[in-house]
Symmetry: C2
Subunit: 403 residues, 2 copies
Amino acid sequence: MIDNITSVRGIKCWGAHIGIKSLRRDLAIIYSEVPAAAACTFTQNAVVAEPVKVSRKNVQNGRAQVIVCNAGNANACTGLQGQKGAEAMVKTTAEELNLDPSDVIIASTGLIGEPFPTEKVVDGIKVNVQKLSEDTKAGSFAANAILTTDTFAKEGFMDFKIGEIQVNMAGIAKGSGMIHPNMATMLGFIVSDVAIDPELLNSTVKECVNKSFNMITVDGDTSTNDMVAVLCNGLAGNEVIKSKKDKGYKVFKEKLEELMIHLAKLIVSDGEGCSKFIQYRVVNAPNEKIARQLVRGISDSSLVKTAMFGRDPNWGRIICAGGNSGVAFDFTKVDLYIGNKQDIVQVLERGVPLDFDRNYLKRLLKESHIHIRMDLNSGKAEGVGWGTDLTTDYVMFNSVYTT
Amino acid sequence: MIDNITSVRGIKCWGAHIGIKSLRRDLAIIYSEVPAAAACTFTQNAVVAEPVKVSRKNVQNGRAQVIVCNAGNANACTGLQGQKGAEAMVKTTAEELNLDPSDVIIASTGLIGEPFPTEKVVDGIKVNVQKLSEDTKAGSFAANAILTTDTFAKEGFMDFKIGEIQVNMAGIAKGSGMIHPNMATMLGFIVSDVAIDPELLNSTVKECVNKSFNMITVDGDTSTNDMVAVLCNGLAGNEVIKSKKDKGYKVFKEKLEELMIHLAKLIVSDGEGCSKFIQYRVVNAPNEKIARQLVRGISDSSLVKTAMFGRDPNWGRIICAGGNSGVAFDFTKVDLYIGNKQDIVQVLERGVPLDFDRNYLKRLLKESHIHIRMDLNSGKAEGVGWGTDLTTDYVMFNSVYTT
């Protein structure tokens, strides 16, 4: 028996095949028996899908009770037809579950610019709300029903104590499989039975997303549909966490960040056409923002990514990509290390190239898990992120998709 | 007989092999017989090479008389040793040509992090200043001596009239060959015999670089060594152009921009491992900055570039990349066109996907010159840029370079 989202008190769900995709499950419903504190983060892309517009509005009151997600059609760049489809998705769900429409969060992922299959989705919701279940398999069904080109379902579960009370938290995610046709959508849905104030939840979710889902890169792009939604329904019965000083806040935040990082790393692991999983760590930075921006800049660089594919300890590319990340840093203070989980080799000390054993380091880079660490020697803050290499397979997959 | 930089009055140059690279020419000197108004733009990378630091200082007075450039060693990440090397490069040139050191502009391109071969460069300068010549072949020698992985020399020449006076302008450039080991350095050196005020020249150079060298992308990265230098020595004898309203300013600026665009496009054409040259045009934008930022965002996207490699008219990726470019635009007003030089097909009208002939468009995308045009229908400004596709060859070249 494994724990998943159905292990959270009051959470029922389902995942079904409603015919948008030819074979795989393509509709997920995650329902809380009672209204939950809710917080979402959305794509920063200037072009946003219809479900993002609707959910952005619906989550404003800090409350939601259900997440409905279809796969196979992104409902993006679909105009008025898509807008009406998203509205129908909310309306049907609210009616069938007897909820206020503003308590419905919706998401879509799949092809961009195709007419939204409103009828299939509306009918699918009507049929499948009947099947909502707290059985473990229902959680797996939901985790599978949000996938597109992903090769495995991404799930996570944690529990922790607030005083004597056991609190549960679980999530599912779908990834930025690199072969995705139009743009790799990232979705993360997390539920917990903790009792927490919605505003505090909102700021906490943003902080944790910045350290997890926002620190992974496959293509360096964000999609029209990216979204992370968190529902906390309070059924654990702990005293409502209202401030950062309240009992349970610290452990809740730690566990939320841990769960999000777990899901984010699973997404990177599933980057098709990749041969390596690379962890980037910038340490002793003046502040976290600078550290994270450097991690993003380096992990997004095509030249760094191709070097890692070729097991090339090309530190010049790493430094240059850092220099291009838009933050100032003093190169003459930088120590740089390249390696894997077992061992890591220093290649730069205070900006001066070291005479390292190139052949030994190349052997380390044969491993599929690579570690890169940059020490700015300019403060106490750090940032961590995760990315992939850039391979010939990536180009093949992405260039021939619709041809 | 062709015109090149030696066709500009008072310009002498040379390009020699001094042994930094094994076989090819690797030292270029471009000298003006009289002091010239000078303006440079430099890399925006936070890590800058030693010659950039020196030249940034030397050009501050708006005057220079010689440009010296070595290839094969970037003099970047070289610490004190490199700093002394750059200083020696300036000192030797000034002494040999009897100039003030502040009138010497230097540049380097090649491997990062290797000790700078100061002795070879100093000796090379001493020998080769003796050979400065206004012969056409000397111009070609210089154009070849700044190359690294480029497969051909990049030269351009223009002339125009100010009243009765013939003015000459010429330039050489080296490119961001995609297989460059550490980072693709972009260098452009332009000389003219026009007489122009240095401050006006400075602002004009910046404007023109923004519409040319800054609008090309191969890797999406800028190097530690990027630099464009323009010398105008006044030997044409026109009345000094002191303001934008003065006689000759308009035509000078037009020709400078034209020359820079010509050189920039040559650089893109030489992106090794690329199969396509792609022109991106954003029209009817609220302002030029937005138009250019959209062009940069789209042309830098790995997903757009791989789609073009695969002849895939995947407009969703183009729109998404635009949405990721950091500027807001109204998708419901966007018209999008994809094609080649001969024909272009509209695929989106006011944000609504059109039912275009996909097979016909795919045939258009077989050509090596691709055109992409985005009409924002939100103003009068436009931006143009040029880029390459992303190919399996690119990944191979870049991953195996040092292995």
